[in-house]
């Protein structure tokens, strides 16, 4: 990982017209200002992770796989769940 020390008011630039400036830093965190072309998506990482997880989850919610999951949740159960 590249580590760069910056003070408030200083910036880093990326190719493609992206610039991130450190606006403020205090005990509660830092505030960033981001300039980027409109086609560049900028997301908080936790939102990005949630999007990824939701896309994956939506693609795995099929009946057969759900029943496999259920078997994991009920390792000692002998009953066969009905179709969803």
């Amino acid at each position: 990982m590249l580590v760069i020390r910056r003070r408030p008011g200083e910036a880093v630039v990326f190719s493609g017209g992206i610039e991130i400036v450190l606006l403020e830093s205090n005990a509660h965190g830092i505030k960033l200002g981001i300039t980027a072309p409109a086609e560049v998506t900028v997301l908080r990482k936790e939102i990005h992770l949630a999007q990824q997880a939701n896309r994956l989850a939506a693609g795995t919610a099929y009946d057969g796989r759900v029943l496999e999951l259920l078997a994991t949740l009920r390792p000692t159960s002998r009953e066969t769940p009905s179709e969803i």
């Binding site: 936790e46 997880a53 989850a57 939506a58 099929y62 759900v66 949740l73 009953e79 769940p81």
Partner: protein
């Protein structure tokens, strides 16, 4: 929780599916403790969920001003066992690896007013790919 509940309104949709605002939460007793969150506009879009309290103990989450406003509750810290707010995790069902639950972004439903939100947590120690191993698994009653 009823076997089939009314539709819930998610004012902001959920991440990656923001256009889906209306979801139905269904339960099949044969498939406890799983729940199914399906888009009303596109029923094929559905998510396998589980109440977080059946998955881990001591789980809590924050609702900031914006999130709390969307749910119609005061901002603050809530727990997975709050009676008025349902707290569920969306599950990614593993094909080869273990299935995982998204504890970074619990789905919160206010049963009192029918509003829902996927409350993405900032700075949480919980993972978006929490492996599902249920040594403390409890069955829904």
């Amino acid at each position: 929780m009823n076997q089939e509940t009314p539709s819930y309104h998610f004012p902001e949709g959920i991440p990656a599916f923001e256009e889906h605002k209306q979801f139905r939460l269904t339960r099949d007793p044969n498939l406890d403790p799983l729940l199914f969150l399906s888009s009303e506009s596109e029923p094929a879009l559905r998510f396998v969920c589980i109440q977080v309290r059946f998955l881990v103990s001591g789980y809590g989450y924050d609702l900031d001003e914006a999130g709390a406003s969307l749910l119609g509750v005061p901002p603050g810290n809530y727990t997975a066992v709050d009676e008025n707010l349902g707290c569920m995790a969306i599950i990614s069902v593993g094909a080869e690896g273990p299935s995982t639950a998204n504890l970074l972004a619990p789905v919160i439903i206010n049963f009192g007013n029918g509003l829902g939100l996927q409350a993405v947590q900032a700075g949480s120690s919980w993972s978006h790919v929490h492996p599902i191993e249920l040594p403390e698994a409890q069955r829904c009653s």
